[in-house]
Symmetry: C3
Subunit: 264 residues, 3 copies
């Protein structure tokens, strides 16, 4: 761990209230030398899958020892557990509702603990803001090298979140849109490996059964205003419009099926 350990935040808190700032105050009271980084506070309210995807797409670019806090927590105040997970390179802290699980798919989990030790949280715990009262202080303590086993009893398993697996179809593969970004690019669940079995010339992308574009090497393989699919920076196939907004123009939404086919 670095001398100035990093703590990241991925939440649906928005930035119009004091919620994210308050968590940082709590962290800095416990570890004044922490470096705090917002991944995003713009996850749609309560959308666990969107939070899981953002964390999975970004966590591995941070220094070893980083503590990642992911809070999309529609069940705050209910009986869902609060957990911390230690992997070979990182710590993850959040509710046990699947929001951590897509990031953990490619990590070696060393330990998982339920955050039940009241010595490491802010008392009294409020009913509605566990980010401030549980997750922020726990993240701060982990960044100070408090052993994860001190935080509460070990757990064997966490709540999984199903990853929408691609499916073989006649002459191609079928996936779905899993994220629409700020530029209107639609990210799918299809990776380079998923497309490897399909061969022969430029692959065609179909949405709603209609051919939309081909897969190319970069946005500027097509002229301005035209659709194109590329393997994006997160490793997934994404549908874009050069210098335009694909989601708006092509009416793309999370959950929509997408089919990649070989040429005729």
């Amino acid at each position: 761990m670095a001398n100035r350990p990093v703590i990241t935040f991925t939440t649906d808190f928005g930035t119009s209230d004091w919620f994210a700032g308050t968590m940082k105050g709590v962290v800095l009271r416990i570890n004044p030398s922490a470096t705090l980084v917002d991944i995003t506070h713009g996850i749609p309210a309560g959308n666990i899958r969107a939070g899981a995807f953002a964390l999975a797409a970004s966590y591995r670019f941070f220094p070893k020892g980083t503590v990642h806090v992911a809070l999309v927590d529609p069940g705050v105040g209910s009986q869902r557990r609060a957990i911390a997970v230690q992997t070979a390179d990182y710590f993850f802290v959040g509710p046990d509702n699947g929001v951590l699980s897509w990031a953990l798919r490619s990590e070696q989990v060393r330990a998982t603990h339920s955050l039940e030790n009241r010595a490491y949280v802010l008392l009294p715990i409020s009913r509605t803001f566990h980010g401030r009262d549980i997750f922020a202080p726990v993240a701060a303590h982990l960044s100070r090298r408090t052993p994860i086993r001190n935080l509460g009893p070990p757990m064997r398993q966490i709540e999984p979140l199903a990853w929408p697996g691609p499916e073989r179809v006649d002459g191609g593969v079928k996936g779905e849109i899993v994220h629409v970004d700020h530029f209107g690019n639609a990210l799918t669940n299809l990776t380079e490996r998923d497309l490897a079995g399909i061969t022969g010339g430029p692959l065609r992308v179909q949405i709603h059964g209609k051919a939309v574009c081909v897969i190319a090497g970069s946005y500027d393989s097509v002229s301005r205003g035209n659709p194109v699919a590329v393997l994006g920076s997160s490793g997934f196939l994404e549908v874009a419009i050069r210098d335009g907004n694909a989601a708006r123009r092509l009416r793309l939404r999370i959950g929509q099926p997408i089919v990649v086919k070989e040429p005729h």
Copy 2:
């Protein structure tokens, strides 16, 4: 004060321009070791009460010695004064228009000074951006332990901002909505103490004279999509819809009266 003193920002500057970033540049030129935290830049433009509420809800979670800058300043360039306040645990910096006053309600004020000493500001002072030219440099100097008395003449009193006090009504208490958060939860000015006098079973919340919900222990005391009132993390009663947006569904707005009554 910590070795890496914290400076926070609560403003109505938004994040689409360069305003918040520029203030941070000014601070770092004066104190390169400051830790900078955004509480929020999303206060509605010119809404002093919203800024005062956000600061009051968050400031006490920061380390002792933190310098809190609060800028909702529709009178920038006019004759309103710029002030710094030292309390037992914190510093507060902002325009003298009430934006600091709700936080100061629960602080022991040690000293208040008018920011008139031109040695601690950026010259020439622009007519429209005192955040950059006065408040950021003053906050940076305070974070370096410049004595507050150096900043300008002492003041006996600051501009107050009336706190909307709750009112006893027949069989209950009447308050109002003071904030609507990112999730659509409506925070009221009613605290646990305000409700203490009303007894006998689950308390009922009325808005527009109609019963809306009861007060419960947590969001999941009701089933999904149903309204509920809970004592929120800031210490105030808030009206929510489980896994939904109460402000939108129930048409809740800042300033609306709300009545809490005992059961029949």
Copy 3:
């Protein structure tokens, strides 16, 4: 350069995805002691001029040695070059599409290099996220005092971006609106110097050929709800409405011509 060198970000990435956060992770892996400041991630998508203006308005308020990263890059993945520029006081990093050029108008350029040395970037370079793979790591290396000449071959010239120069007209000067800020104030390209030749009493501002307001010393020279033009904090004449939103009320847009005339 300070012990904790500053790196700033001015982008059109928005804050709803993980893009800005991921760049910071990449920086902190290379230079854990960097101080990271967002100028803004709210530049309209692909609007190079808006990014150039935000950077030019803010960069000089940061400590000497600051590395400024500006990313408005509709041509990512195409053949446009990636560059780093060293001036007397700062470093600038971004695509060679003009986004850096308005800031550089008032800087003494010492060296410009094309970012072609693959030893200082993240491999493999993705097709769509050079912020993460090229610009963030290069900024981090510059903040660690890697000599700029190590990054790639020197360049003689960068892509310019035309600054819309003001024009003399009968009895006045003609400029245009170059930015509309969060408060609805419309910034023009007219500076105090541009107005110096026009004399005799309060100058009148015309938009669409109609007199809109006079130029005054501060917002409160007029009563609430009335329009006024002032020399704003960035050094440019701006049109505002006291305690109101000028862009909305007067239908002001980027690119609109504005004329300043002497009184009759």
